[in-house]
Protein backbone atom coordinates (compact mmCIF):
# COMPACT_ATOMS: atom_id res chain seq x y z
CA UNK A 1 0.00 0.00 0.00
CA UNK A 2 1.33 3.42 -0.98
CA UNK A 3 1.10 5.85 1.90
CA UNK A 4 0.12 9.38 0.84
CA UNK A 5 2.13 12.30 2.15
CA UNK A 6 0.73 15.77 2.78
CA UNK A 7 2.72 16.92 -0.24
CA UNK A 8 0.82 14.41 -2.43
CA UNK A 9 -2.48 15.94 -1.31
CA UNK A 10 -1.10 19.40 -1.96
CA UNK A 11 -0.44 18.38 -5.57
CA UNK A 12 -4.00 17.09 -5.89
CA UNK A 13 -5.33 20.33 -4.43
CA UNK A 14 -3.67 22.35 -7.22
CA UNK A 15 -6.15 20.67 -9.58
CA UNK A 16 -9.03 22.07 -7.58
CA UNK A 17 -7.35 25.47 -7.52
CA UNK A 18 -6.98 25.30 -11.28
CA UNK A 19 -10.68 24.57 -11.62
CA UNK A 20 -11.45 27.44 -9.26
CA UNK A 21 -9.36 29.84 -11.38
CA UNK A 22 -11.11 28.81 -14.57
CA UNK A 23 -14.54 29.06 -13.01
CA UNK A 24 -13.67 32.50 -11.66
CA UNK A 25 -12.66 33.75 -15.10
CA UNK A 26 -15.88 32.33 -16.53
CA UNK A 27 -17.82 34.18 -13.79
CA UNK A 28 -19.75 31.06 -12.92
CA UNK A 29 -20.52 32.54 -9.53
CA UNK A 30 -19.74 29.25 -7.84
CA UNK A 31 -16.00 29.65 -7.22
CA UNK A 32 -16.49 30.64 -3.61
CA UNK A 33 -18.64 27.60 -2.88
CA UNK A 34 -16.15 25.33 -4.62
CA UNK A 35 -13.20 26.56 -2.58
CA UNK A 36 -15.12 26.49 0.68
CA UNK A 37 -16.35 22.97 -0.04
CA UNK A 38 -12.81 21.80 -0.80
CA UNK A 39 -11.51 23.32 2.43
CA UNK A 40 -14.39 21.77 4.36
CA UNK A 41 -13.59 18.34 2.91
CA UNK A 42 -9.97 18.60 3.99
CA UNK A 43 -10.78 19.89 7.47
CA UNK A 44 -13.76 17.65 8.20
CA UNK A 45 -12.07 14.48 6.99
CA UNK A 46 -8.83 15.25 8.88
CA UNK A 47 -10.89 15.83 11.98
CA UNK A 48 -12.88 12.62 11.62
CA UNK A 49 -9.59 10.78 11.00
CA UNK A 50 -8.31 12.00 14.34
CA UNK A 51 -11.61 11.20 16.04
CA UNK A 52 -11.62 7.67 14.62
CA UNK A 53 -8.01 7.16 15.66
CA UNK A 54 -8.87 8.11 19.23
CA UNK A 55 -12.06 6.03 19.11
CA UNK A 56 -10.22 2.94 17.88
CA UNK A 57 -7.82 3.29 20.79
CA UNK A 58 -10.66 3.52 23.36
CA UNK A 59 -13.35 1.06 22.33
CA UNK A 60 -16.35 2.09 24.43
CA UNK A 61 -20.00 1.93 23.56
CA UNK A 62 -20.60 5.40 25.01
CA UNK A 63 -18.13 7.09 22.67
CA UNK A 64 -19.40 5.18 19.63
CA UNK A 65 -22.96 6.14 20.52
CA UNK A 66 -21.99 9.77 21.00
CA UNK A 67 -20.31 10.02 17.61
CA UNK A 68 -23.26 8.21 15.99
CA UNK A 69 -25.66 10.67 17.54
CA UNK A 70 -23.57 13.58 16.32
CA UNK A 71 -23.56 12.16 12.77
CA UNK A 72 -27.31 11.63 12.92
CA UNK A 73 -28.03 15.19 14.01
CA UNK A 74 -25.86 16.65 11.26
CA UNK A 75 -27.50 14.39 8.66
CA UNK A 76 -30.92 15.44 9.97
CA UNK A 77 -30.06 19.08 9.43
CA UNK A 78 -28.86 18.31 5.92
CA UNK A 79 -32.16 16.56 5.08
CA UNK A 80 -34.07 19.54 6.41
CA UNK A 81 -32.30 22.27 4.43
CA UNK A 82 -32.57 20.29 1.19
CA UNK A 83 -36.39 20.51 1.27
CA UNK A 84 -37.77 23.66 -0.22
CA UNK A 85 -41.21 23.43 1.39
CA UNK A 86 -40.49 21.58 4.57
CA UNK A 87 -42.75 21.43 7.60
CA UNK A 88 -42.65 24.47 9.85
CA UNK A 89 -40.97 24.38 13.23
CA UNK A 90 -39.33 21.34 14.76
CA UNK A 91 -41.37 18.98 12.57
CA UNK A 92 -39.23 20.01 9.60
CA UNK A 93 -36.21 18.63 11.40
CA UNK A 94 -37.84 15.75 13.24
CA UNK A 95 -39.49 13.85 10.38
CA UNK A 96 -36.24 13.26 8.48
CA UNK A 97 -34.06 12.76 11.53
CA UNK A 98 -36.42 10.30 13.17
CA UNK A 99 -36.83 8.28 9.96
CA UNK A 100 -33.07 8.17 9.48
CA UNK A 101 -32.61 7.09 13.05
CA UNK A 102 -35.14 4.28 12.61
CA UNK A 103 -33.76 2.93 9.36
CA UNK A 104 -30.01 3.64 9.49
CA UNK A 105 -29.51 2.57 13.07
CA UNK A 106 -31.68 -0.52 12.78
CA UNK A 107 -30.00 -1.71 9.59
CA UNK A 108 -26.48 -0.91 10.84
CA UNK A 109 -26.99 -2.68 14.16
CA UNK A 110 -28.54 -5.63 12.36
CA UNK A 111 -25.52 -5.85 10.02
CA UNK A 112 -23.04 -5.51 12.89
CA UNK A 113 -24.62 -8.26 14.97
CA UNK A 114 -26.10 -10.67 12.43
CA UNK A 115 -23.57 -10.39 9.59
CA UNK A 116 -20.23 -9.10 10.83
CA UNK A 117 -20.50 -10.64 14.29
CA UNK A 118 -17.68 -8.65 15.81
CA UNK A 119 -16.66 -8.70 19.46
CA UNK A 120 -17.74 -6.26 20.76
CA UNK A 121 -20.48 -5.71 18.19
CA UNK A 122 -20.02 -1.94 18.32
CA UNK A 123 -16.31 -2.08 17.35
CA UNK A 124 -15.91 1.43 15.92
CA UNK A 125 -13.74 0.33 12.99
CA UNK A 126 -16.86 -1.29 11.52
CA UNK A 127 -19.72 0.53 13.21
CA UNK A 128 -18.78 4.10 12.32
CA UNK A 129 -17.94 3.70 8.60
CA UNK A 130 -20.99 1.51 8.10
CA UNK A 131 -23.28 4.00 9.81
CA UNK A 132 -21.70 6.81 7.81
CA UNK A 133 -22.48 5.04 4.54
CA UNK A 134 -26.02 4.38 5.68
CA UNK A 135 -26.69 7.93 6.83
CA UNK A 136 -25.15 9.48 3.73
CA UNK A 137 -27.39 7.54 1.37
CA UNK A 138 -30.55 7.51 3.48
CA UNK A 139 -30.15 11.25 3.79
CA UNK A 140 -30.46 11.91 0.05
CA UNK A 141 -33.30 9.44 -0.35
CA UNK A 142 -35.37 11.01 2.41
CA UNK A 143 -34.57 14.56 1.34
CA UNK A 144 -35.63 13.92 -2.26
CA UNK A 145 -38.78 12.04 -1.26
CA UNK A 146 -39.93 14.60 1.30
CA UNK A 147 -39.22 17.47 -1.05
CA UNK A 148 -41.32 15.74 -3.67
CA UNK A 149 -44.16 15.01 -1.26
CA UNK A 150 -44.49 18.49 0.19
CA UNK A 151 -44.11 20.04 -3.24
CA UNK A 152 -46.87 17.87 -4.69
CA UNK A 153 -49.20 18.63 -1.79
CA UNK A 154 -48.66 22.34 -2.36
CA UNK A 155 -49.03 22.25 -6.14
CA UNK A 156 -51.92 19.78 -6.25
CA UNK A 157 -53.90 21.04 -3.29
CA UNK A 158 -57.04 21.55 -5.37
CA UNK A 159 -56.95 17.99 -6.54
CA UNK A 160 -56.34 16.57 -3.07
CA UNK A 161 -59.11 18.70 -1.58
CA UNK A 162 -61.48 17.80 -4.40
CA UNK A 163 -61.01 14.16 -3.44
CA UNK A 164 -61.67 14.99 0.21
CA UNK A 165 -64.83 16.86 -0.81
CA UNK A 166 -66.08 13.71 -2.52
CA UNK A 167 -65.68 11.77 0.70
CA UNK A 168 -62.34 10.08 0.19
CA UNK A 169 -60.11 9.43 3.17
CA UNK A 170 -56.91 11.45 3.51
CA UNK A 171 -54.71 8.47 2.64
CA UNK A 172 -56.60 7.80 -0.59
CA UNK A 173 -56.58 11.48 -1.49
CA UNK A 174 -52.78 11.69 -1.24
CA UNK A 175 -51.91 8.09 -2.23
CA UNK A 176 -50.63 8.93 -5.71
CA UNK A 177 -48.26 11.62 -4.42
CA UNK A 178 -47.10 9.39 -1.62
CA UNK A 179 -46.20 6.68 -4.13
CA UNK A 180 -44.40 9.15 -6.37
CA UNK A 181 -42.41 10.48 -3.42
CA UNK A 182 -41.25 7.02 -2.35
CA UNK A 183 -40.36 6.16 -5.93
CA UNK A 184 -38.24 9.28 -6.42
CA UNK A 185 -36.44 8.63 -3.13
CA UNK A 186 -35.52 5.12 -4.25
CA UNK A 187 -34.40 5.87 -7.80
CA UNK A 188 -30.83 7.00 -6.94
CA UNK A 189 -29.97 3.82 -5.04
CA UNK A 190 -31.61 1.60 -7.66
CA UNK A 191 -29.56 3.33 -10.35
CA UNK A 192 -26.40 2.96 -8.27
CA UNK A 193 -26.98 -0.78 -7.84
CA UNK A 194 -27.79 -1.23 -11.51
CA UNK A 195 -24.69 0.63 -12.69
CA UNK A 196 -22.28 -0.77 -10.08
CA UNK A 197 -19.28 -2.47 -11.62
CA UNK A 198 -20.41 -1.78 -15.17
CA UNK A 199 -20.48 1.98 -15.38
CA UNK A 200 -19.08 2.96 -12.01
CA UNK A 201 -16.71 1.43 -9.50
CA UNK A 202 -18.23 2.36 -6.15
CA UNK A 203 -16.08 4.64 -4.03
CA UNK A 204 -15.78 2.38 -1.03
CA UNK A 205 -14.59 -0.57 -3.05
CA UNK A 206 -12.14 1.60 -4.97
CA UNK A 207 -10.81 2.93 -1.70
CA UNK A 208 -10.29 -0.55 -0.31
CA UNK A 209 -8.51 -1.71 -3.45
CA UNK A 210 -6.29 1.37 -3.48
CA UNK A 211 -5.48 0.69 0.15
CA UNK A 212 -4.27 -2.79 -0.81
CA UNK A 213 -7.27 -5.06 -0.16
CA UNK A 214 -7.83 -8.05 -2.44
CA UNK A 215 -10.41 -7.07 -5.10
CA UNK A 216 -12.66 -10.05 -4.40
CA UNK A 217 -12.83 -9.15 -0.70
CA UNK A 218 -13.47 -5.50 -1.51
CA UNK A 219 -16.26 -6.53 -3.86
CA UNK A 220 -17.95 -8.60 -1.18
CA UNK A 221 -17.98 -5.65 1.18
CA UNK A 222 -19.32 -3.45 -1.56
CA UNK A 223 -22.21 -5.81 -2.25
CA UNK A 224 -22.97 -5.94 1.47
CA UNK A 225 -22.96 -2.15 1.63
CA UNK A 226 -25.19 -1.82 -1.44
CA UNK A 227 -27.78 -4.16 0.04
CA UNK A 228 -27.71 -2.48 3.42
CA UNK A 229 -27.88 0.98 1.88
CA UNK A 230 -30.85 0.13 -0.34
CA UNK A 231 -32.72 -1.44 2.57
CA UNK A 232 -31.92 1.50 4.81
CA UNK A 233 -32.80 4.11 2.21
CA UNK A 234 -36.02 2.33 1.33
CA UNK A 235 -37.18 1.90 4.91
CA UNK A 236 -36.16 5.43 5.85
CA UNK A 237 -37.92 6.92 2.83
CA UNK A 238 -41.07 4.90 3.53
CA UNK A 239 -41.08 5.98 7.16
CA UNK A 240 -40.49 9.67 6.36
CA UNK A 241 -43.10 9.79 3.60
CA UNK A 242 -45.69 7.98 5.74
CA UNK A 243 -45.17 10.28 8.72
CA UNK A 244 -44.98 13.33 6.47
CA UNK A 245 -48.13 12.48 4.51
CA UNK A 246 -50.09 11.99 7.72
CA UNK A 247 -48.87 15.29 9.09
CA UNK A 248 -50.17 17.11 6.03
CA UNK A 249 -53.66 16.42 7.41
CA UNK A 250 -55.18 17.19 10.80
CA UNK A 251 -57.49 15.04 12.94
CA UNK A 252 -60.50 16.02 10.82
CA UNK A 253 -58.57 14.95 7.70
CA UNK A 254 -58.23 18.49 6.41
CA UNK A 255 -55.28 19.32 4.18
CA UNK A 256 -53.14 21.66 6.33
CA UNK A 257 -50.77 23.46 4.00
CA UNK A 258 -50.15 26.07 6.69
CA UNK A 259 -47.95 23.41 8.24
CA UNK A 260 -45.49 23.91 5.36
CA UNK A 261 -43.04 26.75 5.01
CA UNK A 262 -43.74 29.39 2.39
CA UNK A 263 -40.26 28.91 0.83
Amino acid sequence: MITLSQFDLLIASTLVLLLALISMRMRTGITGQLVIAAIRTALQLTLIGLVLKTLFANVQLGWVALLSLFMLLIAGREVMVRQERRFRGWWGYAVGTFSMFLSSFAVTIFALIAILGNDPWYAPQYAIPLLGMMLGNTMSGIAIAMDRLTHAAWEQRNQIEARLMLGERWDTAISEYRRQAVRSGLIPIINAMAAAGVVSLPGMMTGQILAGAAPVEAVKYQILIMFLVSAGTGLGTLAAVSIGARHLFDKRQRLCLDRLRER
Partner: protein, 191 residues
Amino acid sequence: MLGPVNLSVNAGECLCITGPSGGGKSLLLRAIADLDPHAGEVLLDGIPAQDVEPEQWRRQVGLLPPESSWWLPQPGDHFHNGMPVSLEQLGLADSILQQPVSRLSSGERQRLALLRLLANQPGVLLLDEPTANLDPDNTQRVERVIADYLDRYRAAVIWVSHDRSQVQRVASRHLELDHGAFRDQAVELHT
Protein backbone atom coordinates in the same frame (compact mmCIF):
# COMPACT_ATOMS: atom_id res chain seq x y z
CA MET B 1 -61.57 36.11 8.50
CA LEU B 2 -65.15 34.90 8.68
CA GLY B 3 -67.61 36.92 10.71
CA PRO B 4 -70.22 35.28 12.95
CA VAL B 5 -72.82 33.38 10.95
CA ASN B 6 -76.00 31.72 12.13
CA LEU B 7 -78.15 29.93 9.68
CA SER B 8 -80.38 26.91 9.37
CA VAL B 9 -81.42 25.09 6.22
CA ASN B 10 -84.28 22.60 6.01
CA ALA B 11 -84.74 19.58 3.83
CA GLY B 12 -86.06 20.51 0.41
CA GLU B 13 -84.97 24.09 0.90
CA CYS B 14 -82.59 26.10 -1.25
CA LEU B 15 -80.77 28.87 0.57
CA CYS B 16 -79.05 31.30 -1.78
CA ILE B 17 -76.14 33.32 -0.50
CA THR B 18 -74.96 36.44 -2.27
CA GLY B 19 -72.50 39.05 -1.22
CA PRO B 20 -69.36 40.91 -2.24
CA SER B 21 -66.29 39.00 -3.44
CA GLY B 22 -63.99 38.23 -0.54
CA GLY B 23 -66.96 38.42 1.81
CA GLY B 24 -66.37 34.86 2.95
CA LYS B 25 -69.01 32.96 0.98
CA SER B 26 -66.59 30.27 -0.19
CA LEU B 27 -64.95 30.12 3.23
CA LEU B 28 -68.36 29.54 4.80
CA LEU B 29 -69.02 26.61 2.43
CA ARG B 30 -65.56 25.19 3.10
CA ALA B 31 -66.15 25.45 6.84
CA ILE B 32 -69.50 23.65 6.55
CA ALA B 33 -67.83 20.87 4.54
CA ASP B 34 -65.22 20.74 7.33
CA LEU B 35 -62.31 21.54 5.03
CA ASP B 36 -60.96 24.42 7.10
CA PRO B 37 -60.61 24.65 10.86
CA HIS B 38 -63.27 26.98 12.28
CA ALA B 39 -64.60 28.06 15.63
CA GLY B 40 -68.26 27.54 14.80
CA GLU B 41 -70.57 24.59 15.07
CA VAL B 42 -72.21 22.76 12.19
CA LEU B 43 -75.07 20.35 12.83
CA LEU B 44 -76.65 17.89 10.44
CA ASP B 45 -80.01 16.62 11.72
CA GLY B 46 -78.90 17.73 15.17
CA ILE B 47 -75.59 15.83 15.06
CA PRO B 48 -72.46 17.99 15.25
CA ALA B 49 -69.81 17.53 12.52
CA GLN B 50 -67.13 16.45 14.97
CA ASP B 51 -69.22 13.43 15.99
CA VAL B 52 -69.15 12.08 12.42
CA GLU B 53 -66.11 10.60 10.63
CA PRO B 54 -64.75 13.33 8.34
CA GLU B 55 -65.11 11.31 5.14
CA GLN B 56 -68.70 10.39 5.98
CA TRP B 57 -69.49 14.00 6.80
CA ARG B 58 -68.14 15.19 3.45
CA ARG B 59 -70.07 12.46 1.63
CA GLN B 60 -73.25 13.74 3.28
CA VAL B 61 -72.38 17.43 2.98
CA GLY B 62 -71.07 17.64 -0.57
CA LEU B 63 -69.23 20.75 -1.71
CA LEU B 64 -68.96 21.69 -5.38
CA PRO B 65 -66.05 24.16 -5.71
CA PRO B 66 -66.03 26.77 -8.49
CA GLU B 67 -63.08 25.07 -10.23
CA SER B 68 -63.34 21.33 -10.72
CA SER B 69 -60.32 19.03 -10.32
CA TRP B 70 -59.70 15.72 -12.03
CA TRP B 71 -56.97 13.25 -11.13
CA LEU B 72 -57.54 10.45 -13.62
CA PRO B 73 -57.16 10.75 -17.41
CA GLN B 74 -60.84 10.46 -18.37
CA PRO B 75 -63.94 11.85 -16.65
CA GLY B 76 -65.53 8.41 -16.70
CA ASP B 77 -62.74 7.05 -14.45
CA HIS B 78 -64.04 9.28 -11.65
CA PHE B 79 -67.50 7.72 -11.53
CA HIS B 80 -67.86 4.59 -9.40
CA ASN B 81 -71.44 4.78 -8.16
CA GLY B 82 -73.17 5.06 -11.52
CA MET B 83 -74.94 8.12 -12.92
CA PRO B 84 -77.56 9.75 -10.72
CA VAL B 85 -78.74 11.93 -13.61
CA SER B 86 -78.36 11.24 -17.31
CA LEU B 87 -75.65 13.15 -19.16
CA GLU B 88 -78.30 14.27 -21.62
CA GLN B 89 -80.17 16.21 -18.93
CA LEU B 90 -77.04 18.32 -18.53
CA GLY B 91 -76.61 18.76 -22.29
CA LEU B 92 -73.64 16.38 -22.51
CA ALA B 93 -73.02 13.49 -24.91
CA ASP B 94 -72.29 10.01 -23.53
CA SER B 95 -68.97 9.93 -25.38
CA ILE B 96 -67.66 12.76 -23.19
CA LEU B 97 -66.81 10.25 -20.46
CA GLN B 98 -64.08 8.74 -22.62
CA GLN B 99 -62.47 11.99 -23.68
CA PRO B 100 -59.27 13.22 -22.04
CA VAL B 101 -60.14 15.65 -19.24
CA SER B 102 -57.61 18.12 -20.60
CA ARG B 103 -59.65 18.55 -23.79
CA LEU B 104 -62.93 19.44 -22.09
CA SER B 105 -64.11 23.01 -21.78
CA SER B 106 -64.45 24.48 -18.29
CA GLY B 107 -68.23 24.45 -18.70
CA GLU B 108 -68.22 20.74 -19.54
CA ARG B 109 -65.97 20.03 -16.61
CA GLN B 110 -68.20 22.01 -14.26
CA ARG B 111 -71.30 20.06 -15.27
CA LEU B 112 -69.43 16.75 -14.99
CA ALA B 113 -68.20 17.76 -11.54
CA LEU B 114 -71.79 18.38 -10.47
CA LEU B 115 -72.71 14.94 -11.75
CA ARG B 116 -69.77 13.40 -9.90
CA LEU B 117 -70.91 15.05 -6.69
CA LEU B 118 -74.55 13.98 -7.10
CA ALA B 119 -73.37 10.39 -7.60
CA ASN B 120 -72.51 10.37 -3.88
CA GLN B 121 -76.15 11.25 -3.15
CA PRO B 122 -75.31 13.85 -0.51
CA GLY B 123 -78.10 15.03 1.75
CA VAL B 124 -76.74 18.57 1.66
CA LEU B 125 -75.40 20.32 -1.43
CA LEU B 126 -73.01 23.23 -1.07
CA LEU B 127 -72.79 24.83 -4.50
CA ASP B 128 -70.17 27.51 -5.10
CA GLU B 129 -71.06 29.33 -8.32
CA PRO B 130 -72.15 26.11 -10.09
CA THR B 131 -73.12 27.90 -13.32
CA ALA B 132 -70.27 30.41 -13.51
CA ASN B 133 -68.87 29.04 -16.78
CA LEU B 134 -72.16 28.14 -18.46
CA ASP B 135 -74.26 29.69 -21.21
CA PRO B 136 -77.97 30.43 -20.48
CA ASP B 137 -79.19 27.08 -21.90
CA ASN B 138 -76.85 25.01 -19.80
CA THR B 139 -77.43 27.22 -16.77
CA GLN B 140 -81.12 26.38 -17.10
CA ARG B 141 -80.33 22.66 -17.40
CA VAL B 142 -78.17 22.73 -14.27
CA GLU B 143 -80.84 24.62 -12.34
CA ARG B 144 -83.44 22.04 -13.36
CA VAL B 145 -81.21 19.08 -12.44
CA ILE B 146 -80.54 20.56 -9.00
CA ALA B 147 -84.22 21.33 -8.44
CA ASP B 148 -85.10 17.72 -9.37
CA TYR B 149 -82.44 16.37 -7.05
CA LEU B 150 -83.72 18.54 -4.23
CA ASP B 151 -87.25 17.19 -4.68
CA ARG B 152 -86.28 13.58 -5.16
CA TYR B 153 -83.83 13.29 -2.25
CA ARG B 154 -85.32 15.94 0.06
CA ALA B 155 -81.86 17.50 0.08
CA ALA B 156 -80.91 20.84 1.56
CA VAL B 157 -79.02 23.22 -0.74
CA ILE B 158 -76.81 26.19 -0.02
CA TRP B 159 -76.17 27.98 -3.29
CA VAL B 160 -73.62 30.76 -3.67
CA SER B 161 -74.36 32.93 -6.68
CA HIS B 162 -73.52 36.28 -8.19
CA ASP B 163 -76.52 36.28 -10.46
CA ARG B 164 -79.55 38.11 -9.00
CA SER B 165 -81.99 36.67 -11.52
CA GLN B 166 -80.74 33.17 -10.78
CA VAL B 167 -81.32 33.73 -7.07
CA GLN B 168 -84.89 34.74 -7.82
CA ARG B 169 -85.41 31.61 -9.90
CA VAL B 170 -83.97 29.00 -7.51
CA ALA B 171 -83.97 30.37 -3.96
CA SER B 172 -86.53 29.46 -1.34
CA ARG B 173 -84.63 31.85 0.91
CA HIS B 174 -82.00 34.46 0.21
CA LEU B 175 -79.25 35.75 2.48
CA GLU B 176 -76.82 38.55 1.81
CA LEU B 177 -73.50 37.62 3.40
CA ASP B 178 -71.99 40.93 4.35
CA HIS B 179 -69.26 41.44 6.87
CA GLY B 180 -70.83 41.10 10.29
CA ALA B 181 -74.36 40.57 9.00
CA PHE B 182 -74.87 37.49 11.17
CA ARG B 183 -74.51 37.24 14.90
CA ASP B 184 -74.06 33.72 16.23
CA GLN B 185 -71.90 30.87 15.09
CA ALA B 186 -74.00 27.89 14.23
CA VAL B 187 -75.13 26.21 11.05
CA GLU B 188 -77.99 23.75 11.24
CA LEU B 189 -78.78 21.48 8.33
CA HIS B 190 -81.78 19.19 8.04
CA THR B 191 -82.38 16.43 5.56
